[in-house]
Symmetry: D2
């Protein structure tokens, strides 16, 4: 068993999901690598110390630059806010570290392109934490599509609906609320939520040619937690867009934090000539599948309970009927990354894969400003 | 087109469903017979007159004996309370009328047997309104079972849950509340609700060998609407029983009017070696179907939306996706009855078929008293 | 009881739903008017004769102009293809007839405006058959919104998904396939399906300010049933659009006949500050309702089974738990129209109401051509 | 942080769930105790060694007697087959160890009583792994019932349906199939599955007075994996029973491994005067709740997505909308046990609590033999 020393940057919500993945992966997967929780880094020493104690990290740092330079670190895992990704990733690549980066890859496409160039120049293994690819139901959807079961694709539709920012009393910025701060987050729901929808869509349905978007900020001003003042809200509270995929299919995408009744309802549906698939995150252990080739009288949407050993990842867990949850998607992603180190086939999405999502996000935000259809320009970066 | 003159007895809830069926059947089915709304009968002249006007009956009566003797009546339809069925049916048979009778057939098995003997002696077409056999989804279940798709049957379970009698303020007896009056209804949920479950079960899964039941009356006393006094409640508020079918399968049945949250939730499920089926009345236009022969990774319960032309009865209605409702089951039953007159193959359930349900009910109520397993004794009556 | 003599034009699918509504309405509603099935009109004498016989119309015509001139006709009901609506309606208005017209009102806004002017000049009662307003669940949604339960509205989304034209073997035009013929239908899914979504949306959420659409025709050529030749398909197979409502809410609309697995899945959802509502046509007897004011621990989407007497229209039907279906919406609409004649308050949607839907459709189709946001221009027509 | 040295007996499916719970509990709960994976025990040295390596146990044993005598062990966790529970538990109690025991507690009530006496005499903390009490949705159900929200209880119904033993080719006995071997398992579905249903029911609805059961063994003979011969199957493949609770409510229970289409469908529903609750294991993160006190027009079953911080256990996990799964129930149970050590209030169910479930199982199996109602006799054992 080869040990892989992890340096994790960020002790927030995402830091926990990553730490858990490192802690759990070898309990459930037979791998040649074992991640070692070597060091965690946070600006607050108290936070770093507590996190290290809780999650069994051997040490902690308060300056990511120091962590990146440590000889005993093999892999830098970036779980800090969006505005820090590029600088850390580029430094880590220069230091020859493998890099795992939280999504979205970057604040925008050009920044992401620099990151791609950095990791490709350094030839370091790299991956972005678009974890929903590893929901077993979503992975099964990918398999069914790749097997050609759907035939020609006509439609793709995705939504990511939340309702946690409806109150005007909610402040913006700082700590757990950095996602509401344009300077730190880069955008609102587009980078936070639609990026997930886009990543899955590109994976399942191929490239997006052009988009036509609208955005809205419903609450125009909020108290800023860092300045203490009421400030203009810069992020998009909601974003919807039309899209055309390169394969000729039509799509609608929508995301908002103002959809009362939905906590984290990421859904997608794909309609093909022969079959259709739909999925939603609130029941992530199920996949809905309709096959028109079933005999007419008994044709209907099948609710697949994705807990059987022949369904993706599930042989590693319990027995049929017993569901897994959210954090398992991160464990799967680490497992695949480690497997990729052994096999030499990089686990997806790499920084380059994730750059395409960034470019779609850029086109979406641009379209919302220009009020026109915008082509998705994916820089080759080479 | 041959005209069939109907004499309907009873202007209550069931009277409406029957009148509607006569009114609608020729609009949707191509038949050789046309039911003519000739006369309706109710004890109250005002009620009979109003009902006749509303539903287009040509005349009305206030004495069923008179109706039964009318030469211009071909068919007597009994939609009056349970305690009147036998006397009317026997008189109608003697008068040579065809007879349709609301369910349950009778107050009990022995009474039902007399009715069977009467119609069989008179050789008059006869049928009992167990309408749920004609829900298209239920009829499809029957077809799938008959085609052998389920293989050996292991389990049958049925429930009929309501919640409308929970309040102790609800009086018993009289008018719309006769179902709470033992003398008029014969029993409580057993004859009213479980009779439906049993009829469907006998149809889908064959004969029941023995039963083991418990009953309960939760509210012991209620004001009686006819006497004005608080009286002991004689009916069963709830009844559950275990059963063994002749085909070796095991069953549970349950009915109650004290299941908060359920208005008329009749459900059944049948588990076979190869496939399973379940259905519920609250979404009567759907059938759930699981086929183990589907490929493992995409095996799941299929939700069949029973609105296609190749599904039972549905080619007579609208277009795929557009659902029908409760009253249509009565229309289907009249259509089948009329078709049976043409073809000479009696539509089911006949009085004799319905007698078997009565005998199961008798065994259930007896078991609840004896607290023992009781065999179902179906008198041949010949 | 005042009699209202109906002259129905069109014996197809919609003709049946209207005839049924006239036949049934007085059985279930206490009204001052009774529609009389006086005459039906179809180009084919055989079809007209058969329809009259089946549905109890006293007479038939083969020329609508003759029907419109008949003195014994009070109301002209237009259930013929879209390209005939305007001419018939204008003639009927001139003849002083009340007019009910199938949806969409017209081939386009300008044509619709002429129709509005005609009926308003003639001062004849008029209504368009946007029947889904009268699904009890949808009417309840309207009530809840009007009571202010949702608060400020943030989002509206609607879809109407079908899959019946996926096969390239399906011909276009003629008989039941006129909906695929641009000259007869005016448009594809936009006028046929999105018009329903738009009508409901305008009713529930107020006016639409601007739209941004894309359309697609997946199968470019089909055999035309009338010419017998393979011809270019002119209609839109699919249409999706973004919209902004005047109340500041954002919307997405989508319709297609290429969504495998969906027969007639009309769905809408509306998200407000305090509550959200969603509905779908495949389970039309249910309404999903989420109220954020419920206590946190037990807050969730409520599945309302719309079969209780205190829910819209349902006291006229059966008992709690027993569902109604598709055709009932037409019965409700006739009932409301007749009630409106008595009360003097016109039932909606009038021609003028429906014109607004037409104008939204025009803007949608224009936007699909210009690839730009288009304002909805509703001509006052006065 | 006090360390608690665990000695785990059994490396099978349950062993994994327990090991995982010890590994995870301190990552998510702030506790005064930390379980230390000190030693694991299995008869096979290879299995024990591999399990210890995988799960980070410091040592392993192949003789449970040796483990029980080890001074460095504080707690014995019994995850071996049913026929070993009593002997190990009694020895462990004598050795003064805390004991956690897999369910069912014992082979039968009398054996369980000895175990209760042993732990109570030794005054060692003890608990049985009826893990489903700690599904957050189930714990919430308990809270709602305790708050009196349901009022008088009328009905309880529970089922545990599986389909994994339908094939007659499946052998019995040995390794993962010991649950099919009467001598090792004690019974079939009654002890394996109904025991879960009964434990939950006793917890939620109080004591059971009497039961009336039927059992069936559908496949009479199977090859035995240990003897290599075809032998009579001794276990119950299916068991259903009627029950009366001490609080006057009526119940039905059913379990089978022959319900095609169900992998592990444990469901229960409880109907009270004012409210009802239902739950199922296939969507364990949801709870269905109906409250009759809701306003009539908007009254319906609420689907609660149990992922909010104010719902049981969920503040320890992720954010609203993100579900947890099966193994988390064991983590919760360890957390509660450790909390109980600190607070001095024993976490439930203790051996004594679990004995009552055993006594109900005994009555059920007796009733199936006698074909009569049997009272549940719970020995006080004091």
């Amino acid at each position: 068993m080869k040990q892989l020393n992890i340096g994790l940057i960020g002790c927030g919500f995402m830091g926990r999901t990553h730490a858990n993945a490192y802690s759990q992966v070898n309990h459930f997967f037979d791998l040649q690598y074992e991640p070692v929780r070597k060091a965690v880094c946070a600006r607050s020493e108290a936070a770093a110390r507590a996190f290290a104690a809780k999650w069994g990290f051997e040490s902690f740092e308060t300056d990511w630059r120091k962590l990146v330079q440590r000889k005993d670190i093999d892999l830098i895992d970036i779980a800090s806010p969006n505005d820090t990704h590029a600088e850390i990733a580029i430094a880590a690549a220069k230091a020859g570290k493998m890099i795992l980066c939280e999504k979205p890859l970057s604040m925008n496409g050009p920044e992401g392109l620099k990151m791609v160039r950095a990791v490709e120049k350094a030839k370091v293994p790299n991956m972005v934490w678009y974890n929903y690819r590893r929901v077993p139901a979503v992975t099964l959807a990918k398999q069914l599509i790749e097997e050609g079961r759907l035939g020609r694709i006509f439609h793709y539709r995705a939504k990511f609906l939340q309702d946690w920012t409806i109150s005007p009393e909610l402040p913006q910025g700082g700590a757990a609320l950095w996602r509401l701060d344009l300077k730190v987050a880069g955008s609102g729901v587009t980078g936070d939520l639609l990026a997930h929808c886009i990543d899955t869509a590109l994976w399942l349905n191929g490239g997006i040619e052009k988009v036509n978007a609208m955005t809205e900020t419903f609450i125009k001003e909020r108290k800023h937690n860092l300045t203490g003042k009421v400030e203009r809200v810069g992020i998009d509270d909601a974003c919807a867009f039309l899209a055309r995929f390169r394969n000729g299919s039509l799509a609608t995408f929508e995301s908002t934090r103002y959809a009362r009744g939905h906590k984290a309802l990421y859904t997608f549906e794909i309609n093909g000539e022969h079959a259709s698939i739909s999925w939603d995150l609130h029941d992530l252990h199920r996949l809905q599948y309709f096959d028109h080739r079933d005999e007419g009288r008994v044709r209907g949407w099948r609710s697949l309970h994705i807990t059987d050993g022949d369904q993706p990842y599930m042989k590693h867990w319990w027995v049929p009927g017993l569901q897994i949850g959210y954090e398992h998607t991160f464990i799967h992603q680490v497992a695949d990354f480690l497997e990729g180190l052994s096999s030499g086939r990089a686990a997806s999405p790499t920084f380059r894969d994730a750059l395409e999502t960034q470019c779609v996000c850029d086109a979406v935000l641009k379209s919302a400003r220009t009020q026109k259809w915008e082509k998705v320009a994916v820089s080759s970066g080479k």
